[in-house]
């Protein structure tokens, strides 16, 4: 029960820059999120046309998970613990636009489905075959204590072998994703301090 857990790898997407374990793998000066994420996706040469159907939050979360997990094996037992501040508000606002005017009332099912925060986790799950524990938390700032305890519980209770945790926030042009993988092997000790520094820096 008392064996320590570690963070084996992490990824970040922020300010037009993508990094894995602190090493930049893609950078552009493109200011608009939509154009940036498309460029980044093409740069990774991923064959997955469903990407283009996703909302912006899912694209962000998907790519952050993709660069982190593409070398992982046995992904079925990796649990997913995601959090952010704005839930699906970015897409909620877009969807509201389609029903705001009674004379022009055409709600889009393809937009509506993304008006739930956990869908971005579902997209990651589908891509990597993660038939595992999933949860989505919403908080003003990254809640390191809760996320730490929850991830630790999942591994210690044998409900997951590894846990992909992190922060995937997007509202309009403000975005930031930090994902990290918790498991029994790794370089940095899994503590609330470590994950706070990782996510908030």
């Amino acid at each position: 029960m008392d064996r320590p857990l570690y963070i084996s790898h992490y990824s970040k997407i922020e300010n037009g820059r993508i990094s894995v374990d602190g090493n930049a793998i893609f950078h552009t000066d493109e200011a608009q999120f939509f154009a940036f994420i498309k460029q980044a996706f093409k740069n990774q040469q991923i064959d997955y046309s469903k990407f283009y159907k996703m909302d912006n939050l899912s694209k962000l979360a998907f790519l952050a998970a993709e660069v982190l997990l593409n070398e992982e094996e046995d992904k079925e037992d990796i649990a997913l613990v995601l959090s952010n501040k704005s839930a699906s508000l970015d897409t909620d606002v877009k969807y509201q636009g389609s029903i705001q005017d009674a004379a022009n009332f055409f709600p889009s099912p393809a937009v509506f489905v993304y008006t739930l925060a956990n869908i971005c986790g579902g997209e990651i799950g589908i891509r990597h075959g993660m038939k595992s524990e999933h949860v989505f938390f919403v908080s003003d700032e990254f809640d390191a204590v809760t996320i730490f305890n929850y991830a630790t519980y999942l591994i210690k209770s044998l409900k997951a072998k590894k846990v992909l945790c992190g922060w995937v926030e997007l509202f309009e042009e403000n975005y930031k994703a930090v994902l990290y993988l918790v498991e029994e092997r790794g370089t940095a000790l899994h503590t609330t301090d470590t994950i706070n520094k990782l996510v908030k820096n």
Binding site: L80, K85, S86, A87, S88, L89, D92, V93, Y95, Q96, I99, Q100, A102, F105, P107, S108, P109, F112, V113, T115, L116, A117, N118, I119, G121, G122, E123, G125, I126, H128, G129, M130, K131, S132, E133, H134, V135, F136, F137, V138, S139, D140, D143, V145, T146, N149, Y150, T152, Y153, S157, K159
Partner: protein, 356 residues
């Protein structure tokens, strides 16, 4: 535990109404939608002028539980909702629609010292929130957690389910041959999860929340995620599937969902265990549904009484399931509550009656 629904503004009145087999589903006009069936609360009282409609529902659900308690640094507060105060968007107020803002407002109102935790995980939110409460207590983060769940009927969600062709023109018919979609509803529920077994009604003996990893809107055709969630809960509880006395299913009355559930239960050999869905009484109350239905199921467990599945007439799934069709008095010890939702999400929790 307590709940606020179209059948009553507290648990007692809800239970009385359920025993009389009343339904909260009725014809309403909501914005663009004229004369549609929904389960909407009538005559919600104004308790404070600074609360929105949803906040009033949530307040009424939690207030009786909180008022007698001393809230300290080991007391947690979890709010579960899918869309929160989504109506603010039609006024262009996106900041006000933030889920966390709603949670912080309620936390201040009730005097919680710890930061609120918000779970927004589609239609499993309410049940998953109870799992999360249990897990965080097991990790020593809290000694007790107040779990509050709520969603209201909004034009936002109605239009979305409409666009998905997932809404029934009639009151919903869970597991029935002629089921053709959901009826949306609104409710709030509140429950206290504690470390101590003093005065406890039930013990949470096992739970799991495994994703299908199959499709973002359609349920898995094999019921894989639900099957695994229940298996995980049974394993933790250390009991066989046959030990379960009653299942409170999700039973939304869409063709795909109910079929998926029947397949999952059948794969687990649970086809003879009495099953009901409460959607015929409350409609689909989204982020509240898992918690509301858990609360009513605990009430069933306490009273050794099963409620019939309102709206069900004819067997309508490819696999046999034992749908409860009339009120039954039977001794109950273990019950299973399940939920499934968009994003491939599933959740299962097994409760054991105290001293049962």
């Amino acid at each position: 535990m307590n709940c606020v629904t179209p059948l009553g503004l507290d648990l007692h009145s809800n239970w009385i109404a359920l025993l009389e087999e009343n339904t909260g589903i009725d014809m309403h006009t909501i914005g663009y939608f004229e004369n549609i069936y929904t389960a909407k609360i009538k005559n919600l009282p104004t308790v404070r002028s600074d609360l929105t409609y949803l906040e009033t529902m949530l307040y009424l659900a939690l207030e009786p539980l909180v008022k007698l308690k001393n809230l300290d640094t080991k007391t947690g507060f979890i709010l579960s909702t899918t869309k929160g105060n989504i109506d603010f968007l039609s006024e262009g107020k996106s900041e006000e629609a933030q889920l966390n803002k709603l949670a912080v407002k309620l936390a201040h109102l009730f005097g919680f010292i710890t930061q609120p935790i918000v779970i927004s995980h589609a239609c499993v939110s309410g049940l998953l929130a109870v799992s999360v409460a249990k897990r965080l207590i097991q990790m020593g983060q809290f000694d007790e957690v107040f779990v509050l769940a709520g969603d209201k009927v909004s034009e936002f969600v109605l239009s979305g389910f409409g666009a998905f062709q997932a809404m029934s023109a009639n009151p919903c018919k869970p597991f029935d041959l002629n089921r053709d979609g959901v009826t949306l509803g609104e409710a709030a529920g509140a429950i206290l999860v504690t470390k101590s077994d003093e005065n406890a009604l039930v013990e949470i003996v096992g739970e799991g929340a495994i994703n299908d990893a199959n499709h973002i809107s359609g349920p898995s055709r094999t019921g894989e995620g639900l099957y695994q969630s229940i298996s995980s809960a049974l394993k933790e509880a250390g009991i066989a599937a046959s030990a379960i006395d009653f299942i409170s299913a999700h039973g939304t009355a869409t063709p795909y969902n109910d079929e998926m559930e029947a397949i999952a239960f059948s794969r687990l050999g649970m086809h003879k265990i009495p099953i009901n869905s409460l959607k015929g009484y409350y409609g689909h109350t989204l982020g509240a549904s898992g918690l509301l239905e858990l609360i009513i199921s605990i009430q069933s467990l306490q009273n050794n009484k099963l409620l019939p599945t309102k709206g069900f007439n004819l067997k309508g799934t490819s696999k046999d399931v034992n749908i409860v069709t009339q009120a039954m008095d039977i001794p109950l010890t273990y019950i299973l509550k399940t939920a499934s939702g968009f994003g491939g999400s599933n959740c299962a929790a097994i409760l054991k009656k105290m001293n049962g």
